[in-house]
Subunit: 218 residues, 2 copies
C-alpha cells in the first residue's frame, strides 16, 4: 500500500493521507508515489467518472500541487492507461497460471473464471469495462484494444484446448469467449451495488451455469 | 425514418441530409425533427463519445443552429436519456411478447435472447452498455438504473418461471440473469468490429452455450 509509511517507524498520529507527507525514504520513493497517483486516480475515475475528474481534483486529493503530479505522470490519459494496465495485470497472471497448469482445460478455464471475477471487482477492474473508446485518443485506444484482444485470444485458446481434450463439448469457441467475457466484465457494473455475494461465490454460480447449462426437462 | 421527405412528393435531388430541409408538413413535424435530433445524437455519441460531442457538433451535423436544437431538447443529458429510452424500447417490447407467449419459459427466455441481441446491435443498443454512471447527473443516472433494474427483474422472473415449470434446471436465477445480461450487453463492445455473424447467429450460439453448457467428457 503506497499510502502507508514505513512500518518500522510508526508516527505519533494516524497514517498520512498522502505519501508525500510520509517520511522520505530514498529507495522506491518515486515509484511509490507514482503508484499512489494511479491508485487515487482509479478511485476518483470510478467514483466520479473520468471526465468529471480533473488533475486539479486529483492533486487536491493527494494534497500536492498539479505540477507535482507531472513529476509522476505526463497527463490524465496516461493515468487511465496505467489504471487499465493495472486492471489487466491480475487477469494476465491468472491466465499464465491456468495455461501452465495441468489437467483438463475445462477445469483450467473455470480456475480462470475465478481469478477473473476476483480481478474485476478489484480497484482497477472497472477499467476492463469502461476505459475504452470514448475517453482516449486513437493511439491509446488502440493499445488498450490490443491488450484486451490478447486476453480474448488466450481465453479462446483455453476453450479450444478443452474441445481438443474432450473436457469441453463442441461449441463456437469465439462466441463462448465473448459470452464468458461479457458475463464477467458486466460484474464491473452491478457488483458495487449488489455485493451480497463474494466474487468467488459469483464465479461459482457462473461456472455452474456455463458448465451445466440451463436445460431442465423438455 | 425521420430524414426522408414525404414519399408522395419526390424531390428532384437526393433526399435532404436534414429534415429541416424537407418540405414542411403540418402534422408530426415537431416529433419527427425531435426524433432526428436523437438519431443524429446517438450516432455521434457512439462514434465519438458523449463527452467529445458538443451540441454545436450536433447542430452542425443537422445543418441547424444550436438555438434550433433547443426547440426539441432541453440539453445534452436529456438527449442521452432519450437515446437510452430508445435503446430500451425494443428490449421491453421483446419482454412483453415473451411474457405473454405460451410454452415453456426456457423457450420464451431464448426468444428474448434473440430479441435482445437484435436490439443491442441497433442504433441505440450501445446505450445499455455505456449511458450509465459517468455521463449523467445523479437524478438522470438513477432513472436509468431503475429502468435497467426493471429489465433485470423481468429476465429473472422468466428464469424463475422456467425453474417452476421444469424447463430450466435449478440455478441461481439472479446470477444467471447477470451472466446473460452481461453476455448480451457485451456485444455492444465488440460487435461493430467483428460483425462476421448476424445478431441472430450470435444469439443462437449464446443460446447453445446457455442451454447445454460447456461440459464435455469428465
Amino acid at each position: 500500500m503506497p499510502a502507508a509509511p514505513a512500518k518500522s517507524r510508526p508516527r505519533k498520529h494516524l497514517r498520512p493521507a498522502s505519501p508525500w507527507e510520509a517520511r522520505r525514504r530514498p529507495r522506491h520513493e518515486h515509484a511509490l508515489k507514482r503508484e499512489a497517483v494511479i491508485h487515487a486516480a482509479a478511485r476518483a475515475f470510478r467514483e466520479r467518472g473520468y471526465h468529471n475528474t480533473s488533475l486539479d481534483d486529483l492533486a487536491a486529493s493527494l494534497k500536492v500541487t498539479k505540477p507535482t503530479l507531472y513529476l509522476y505522470v505526463p497527463n490524465k490519459e496516461a493515468i487511465l492507461f496505467e489504471c487499465f494496465r493495472a486492471g489487466l495485470a491480475p487477469i494476465q497472471e491468472t491466465l499464465d497460471q491456468c495455461e501452465r497448469a495441468s489437467g483438463p482445460a475445462r477445469e483450467r478455464l473455470f480456475a480462470f473464471i475465478r481469478g477473473y471475477a476476483a480481478a474485476i471487482v478489484g480497484n482497477f477492474g472497472w477499467c476492463m469495462l469502461r476505459a475504452e473508446d470514448q475517453h482516449l485518443g486513437a493511439t491509446m485506444s488502440r493499445r488498450i484494444k490490443l491488450l484486451k484482444a490478447g486476453i480474448d485470444k488466450r481465453m479462446r485458446a483455453l476453450i479450444e484446448a478443452g474441445i481438443a481434450d474432450g473436457s469441453i463439448r463442441q461449441c463456437d469457441a469465439r462466441m463462448t469467449t465473448f459470452a464468458l467475457a461479457g458475463a464477467l466484465n458486466w460484474m464491473g457494473h452491478w457488483y458495487r451495488e449488489d455485493a451480497s455475494l463474494k466474487p468467488q461465490q459469483i464465479a461459482d454460480r457462473f461456472i455452474d451455469v456455463f458448465n451445466h447449462g440451463l436445460r431442465g426437462r423438455d
